[in-house]
Assembly symmetry: C2
Homo-oligomer: 327 residues x 2
Amino acid sequence: MDLAQGVLGGDRRAVARAISLVERQQPAERDAARELLCALYPHTGQAHLVGVTGSPGTGKSTLVNQLARFYRQSSPHREHSARVGIIAVDPSSPFSGGALLGDRVRMRDAAADPGVFVRSMATRGAEGGLAHATFDAAQILDAAGYEVIFVETVGAGQDEVAIARSSHTTLVVEAPGLGDEVQAIKAGLMEIADIFVVNKADRQDADQAVRAIEMMLEGSAASDFHNCGLGGIIWGVPVCKTVALDGTGIPGLVAHIESHRAYLQQSGRLRDRELRRAGAELETLLQRELFSRFLSRLEPGKLESMVSSIASRDLAPYEALKELLGS
Amino acid sequence: MDLAQGVLGGDRRAVARAISLVERQQPAERDAARELLCALYPHTGQAHLVGVTGSPGTGKSTLVNQLARFYRQSSPHREHSARVGIIAVDPSSPFSGGALLGDRVRMRDAAADPGVFVRSMATRGAEGGLAHATFDAAQILDAAGYEVIFVETVGAGQDEVAIARSSHTTLVVEAPGLGDEVQAIKAGLMEIADIFVVNKADRQDADQAVRAIEMMLEGSAASDFHNCGLGGIIWGVPVCKTVALDGTGIPGLVAHIESHRAYLQQSGRLRDRELRRAGAELETLLQRELFSRFLSRLEPGKLESMVSSIASRDLAPYEALKELLGS
C-alpha cells in the first residue's frame, strides 16, 4: 500500500495525508483508513508519548514549542537529535476555525524544522471522536519514526483524561494566579500527572503555586499510587518551574521527562502504560462502532419519532431504551 | 413508589436520596433508578434549565450563587419567588474530594435557603457517565418543582458541550485578562452560547473583553445561526458585564435569561431545544447501554487477552475490533 509505505519511509506529505484520512472519519474512507492503520501498527511502539494538559492560559503551546526545540537542538539523554511530533488538540470547532491562529503562529518556529511535525486536531462528531482521531494520529507519527510525540490538550473533560491515559508521560501545566477555581482542575488532574509544570514562573506568586501543588501531592492518594513502583524503583512526581517564553527551565523539564521514560522502562511500568493505552483505545473504538452499527440497523425514522415522544413527555428516556434494546 | 412520591412532593431528603441513587450508578440499583426516573418523567418539563459554562477562574460558582439569590429574593419576571436548583459538575475525582471546598463554601449562602437545592456531581466511571448522571439529576429537580435549574460545568470537553446542549439557555462566562489561549475556548463555546457574561467586570480590561466577544459574534457563523429565529422573532446573543462578588449586573443578566426564555416560547424554538435535549439524552443512554451489554456477553478474559496482544503489537486495534464484532 502506497500511503503506508510513504508513512513508514517518513515522507511528510504521506504523513499529512494519512492523518487527514483518519481525522476526516468519512464513512466512504473507513476501510482505507483502517487498512492503513493495521498496516502501520506492527511498526509502532518506538515513540515516547508525552501528554501535555492543563487549564487555558497556562502557556502550554509555547511550552511544547520550546520542548520540541530543545529535543531537536540538544538531546543530551539520547544518542542523536530526536525527531519530534506535536499533536495539538483544538477545542474549537469547524465553525470557528482560525481562532487558534495565535497558537499556530507561536508553533511556527518548531514547524519550520523538517525534524518536527505539527498537527492540530479539531473536536468534531460524536462523543469520543476526538480521542479516537488522536490515538490514530499518534500511531501514524510513531510509525513514521517520530521518537518523541507531544499531545497537547486543553481542559479536564473525559476526552482529555482519555488522551492523557494513553500517554507514557503526562505533564500537567499550571500558571500562577489563575484563581482558586484552578485548584479544582488540578485536583481532577492529580491522578494523571507524572510531572507538574508551573509555567510563567517569573511571576511573583510562582513559588506559592509550587508549594500548593506539593502540598496536594503530599496529601493525596494519587501520590501513594504514583510512588508504588515495582522492584523498589519509585517515581516521586516532581514540580518544575519554567518560563516557556524565554526557555527558562526547559532543560530541567526535559531531564525529568527522560528520567520518567527511564523509570518506566526499568520498573516494568512501561508495560502497564502500554496495556492502559491499548485498553483505552480498544474501548473507544468499541463504543463508537457498537453505536454506529446499532444506528445503521434501525428502521429509518424510528429514533426521530422516539426523540419526539421523549420531548413531549409521552415516553421516558429509559422506556425508549427498553423499547430499542429490550430489558 | 415511596421515593418518587417524596420527590414529587418536593421533600428535600427524598430529592437528595434520588440524586444519590442515579449518581452512584451501581448495577444492583440499576432497575430501581430507572423505575424512579420513569415514574418522574411525566412530571418533568416545567423547569427552565440554564447551563453555565466557561474557563476555570471566571467565577462561575459565585455568579450562580448570586443568580440563585436574585431569583429567590425578587423574581420580577415571574409571578412568585422561583425555587432554584443548582447542579455543579465537579471535575475532581473521588480520590481528591474536598478540593472544591472553596466553591462549596461560596455556595453555602444559597444552600441555606430552603427554596434552593445545591448538588455537586463528580466525574466518574465510563465516558458519558457524567453527562448521563447530570441529565438524571436535572429531571429529578424538575419533577420536584424546582423552576429554574442551573447546571454549572467547567471547561470545553465533549461532556460539557453535551450538558450545554441539554439546557434551554446557555451562559458562557469569561473574565478579563485570562490570556489569549482563552480565545480558543471561547471559539469552541461560541455556537452554544445564548448569552455571554464577562464577569469580574471591575477589572480595567473588561470593556476590551466585551469588544473582543462582540467582534467574534459579528464575524462568526454562530451569530447567523442564532439570529435565524422563526416567525421573524430574532435572538441576538447579548454580552453582559457582571461583578458576581458584589452583585453588580445580576438583575440585568436575569432579565436576559428571562427574555431568552420568552423568546424560546414565542418563536417556537423551545420545542427545538426540547428535541435536542431528548436526542442528546437518548444518544448518551444508548451508547452506554450498548457497550455495557456487549461487555456482559463477552467470554471472561477475552478483552484482557486482546488488550495484551495490542500492547505487544501482535494485533492492531482495528483487527481486534473486527474479531470482536465481525467486519
